[in-house]
């Protein structure tokens, strides 16, 4: 992990409140793994004070991409940055998805809800490289919440989209779309990132269907390094539940390690 204070923004794209930045940072790119994140400085002054944790969306040579949605003051400031400006990024951080050799040749469900689609691209790409078969599920409230649909399709993966309002693809929650698909086939693994309610439902489904799964959790983070213990949540380890740091031991956890709100 490094601090790169001069990571140059090569390209920015935006769709309403969603943004995709391509950033040159050779050392960060070289060492990144899918599911890991960056701590991105959003302000040169002390307000907002903290860096923002953002998933690594893609790695391409010396460049990495971040995909984010405006969620507040910090991400608004970040969204205002232009190509040619530099970003101050810290990373790669955390423990990402377990892209294991045994997934080779097998179908793997990769589910992203809303801005939670961010790490799914890098994940699907790695699975593809491994010659596993990623099946991407991309859910949003409305068609405008699925700006990366064509990007996933262009990569040649099987892509299934859903919208809550039925404006594009399957009409309903992405979890219902996954359930429907599970009547037809059984994936070797399921990875997901998105709203808690979505992941909780997927967790239930995977338990019922006996599908191993990992989920990427979101948290407000102080440092991203494991130094502040601010981002913890209850996690089950060796039969015991304790407060575990999302930034250092996660953000990706195994299905049975996570304790959901409804439990």
């Amino acid at each position: 992990m490094v601090i790169d204070r001069k990571a140059r923004i090569k390209k920015t794209e935006s769709w309403g409140e969603y943004f995709l930045f391509r950033v040159e940072s050779p050392e960060v790119a070289r060492t990144s793994e899918p599911g890991q994140f960056l701590m991105v400085k959003v302000s040169e002054i002390t307000s907002p004070l903290l860096r923002r944790p953002l998933s690594i969306h893609n790695r391409d040579g010396k460049e990495v991409e971040i995909f984010f949605q405006i969620a507040g003051e910090g991400t608004s400031l970040l969204a205002a940055k232009k190509a040619g400006e530099s970003l101050d990024i810290l990373g790669p951080l955390g423990r990402g998805f377990s892209v294991k050799n045994e997934l080779k040749g097998k179908e793997v469900f990769c589910v992203g809800g809303g801005r939670g689609i961010a790490p799914v691209y890098f994940l699907a790409k790695e699975l593809d490289t491994l010659r596993a078969k990623p099946v991407v599920f991309y859910g949003g409230r409305s068609s405008t919440d699925l700006p990366l649909k064509s990007r996933f399709e262009e990569a040649g993966w099987e892509v299934k989209v859903s919208t809550d309002d039925g404006s594009l693809g399957f009409s309903g929650l992405v979890t219902s779309l996954v359930e429907r698909e599970l009547k037809l086939r059984q994936p070797a693994f399921l990875f997901a990132c998105g709203p808690e309610a979505m992941m909780e439902k997927l967790s239930e489904i995977c338990l019922k269907k006996n599908i191993p799964a990992e989920f990427s959790l979101e948290a407000i983070m102080g440092c991203g390094l494991g130094a502040c213990w601010g981002c913890v949540r209850p996690i089950r380890r060796d039969g015991e539940v304790e407060y575990i740091k999302i930034c250092q031991d996660g953000p990706v956890f195994l299905r049975d390690e996570i304790i959901w709100a409804g439990e």
Partner: protein, 303 residues
């Protein structure tokens, strides 16, 4: 060349910058970013005798130029620290200071006694000022008598130099500082965080799981500076100043009002190399001002 060293009497530091407890993990988390030996020293995260679970999340809220935390001193406990972490720190040529916590006065003494059987610790910092442990943010550092008793017990339990870390959540901080000095504390460090809260208007809920937390960051610097000034004027022992130090200039202001050394806390979260940048900035400032010993800045405020 500027001589950056400062002498606390019981401990000579190669420069005045210490990383503050609770913001620097157990030190090792920052090894990827720079050589820890470049620091004056660092204070490891507060340790109870046993591992501590900490408070219910959410534990962090960002406010204007500040951060409220309610971590609640989650940590590994001294046994795991001494066996798994300390051996990696003990060889470092920098001051490793251990922050000591306790549910009661006896626990502080038991932790100190346990640590005294281990090598590689330069001093203890008594954390009698965490606002996240007892209901209503209360802590021993809010009462001169309980401050006196706690320091005294620790002094009797070990031969380490003791730095007592004070709370800003008091009416007159000088009387607490004097109580610590009278009990044999070799230095005072201040300030811990300021008791604070944040509210979510729509849900009508507190933003922290613990309801109350401690505010740190640039927002508290003027208050911290004032308190360091007051304490430095009241006690004879050295004072270690902290509270919202983000730049070399901030650090030098604390020294100017009387701090012999400083601690950098929240800044470590935003820039993991913050301490290093502050040390370098202090050296440059001194050079530009024709000051060849940084210790000359201590207490040089003109009033």
């Amino acid at each position: 060349m500027v001589d950056l060293s400062v002498d606390l009497g019981f401990l000579k530091l190669k420069n005045p910058v210490l990383a503050a407890s609770g913001t620097f993990g157990y030190g090792l988390e920052f090894k990827p970013f720079y050589d820890l030996e470049l620091l004056g020293g660092f204070v490891v995260k507060g340790l109870y005798y046993n591992a501590k679970e900490g408070n219910r999340p959410p534990r962090l809220v960002e406010t204007a130029s500040g951060l409220i935390n309610s971590i609640g001193l989650q940590g590994v406990g001294i046994e795991a620290f001494c066996e798994e972490v300390l051996p990696e720190l003990a060889g470092l040529k920098t001051a490793v200071i251990v922050n000591v916590c306790g549910e009661d006065e006896d626990e502080y003494a038991r932790v100190a006694e346990y640590l005294s059987r281990h090598k590689g610790i330069a001093a203890l910092e008594l954390n009698i000022s965490c606002p996240n442990i007892r209901e209503g943010g209360r802590c021993p550092a809010q009462d001169p008598e309980s401050t006196f008793r706690t320091v005294k017990k620790v002094k009797q339990a070990c031969s380490f130099p003791v730095i007592t870390k004070l709370s800003p959540n008091v009416t007159d901080i000088t009387e607490i500082a004097l109580a610590a000095e009278n009990a044999g504390s070799q230095a005072i460090s201040l300030v811990n965080t300021i008791l604070a809260m944040a509210v979510d208007l729509e849900t009508r809920k507190p933003k922290l799981g613990n309801i109350l937390g401690g505010l740190s960051g640039p927002a508290i610097k003027p208050i911290a500076l004032r308190m360091v000034f007051q304490v430095a004027g009241a006690v004879k022992i050295p004072v270690v100043g902290m509270g919202g130090i983000f730049t070399a200039e901030d650090a030098l202001e604390f020294m100017m009002v009387g701090a012999s050394a400083v601690q950098v806390g929240t800044a470590n979260f935003i820039d993991p190399d913050a301490c290093l940048r502050i040390i370098q900035g202090m050296e440059k400032w001194a050079e530009n001002h024709g000051i060849f010993r940084i210790s000359r800045v201590i207490g040089s405020l003109k009033v």
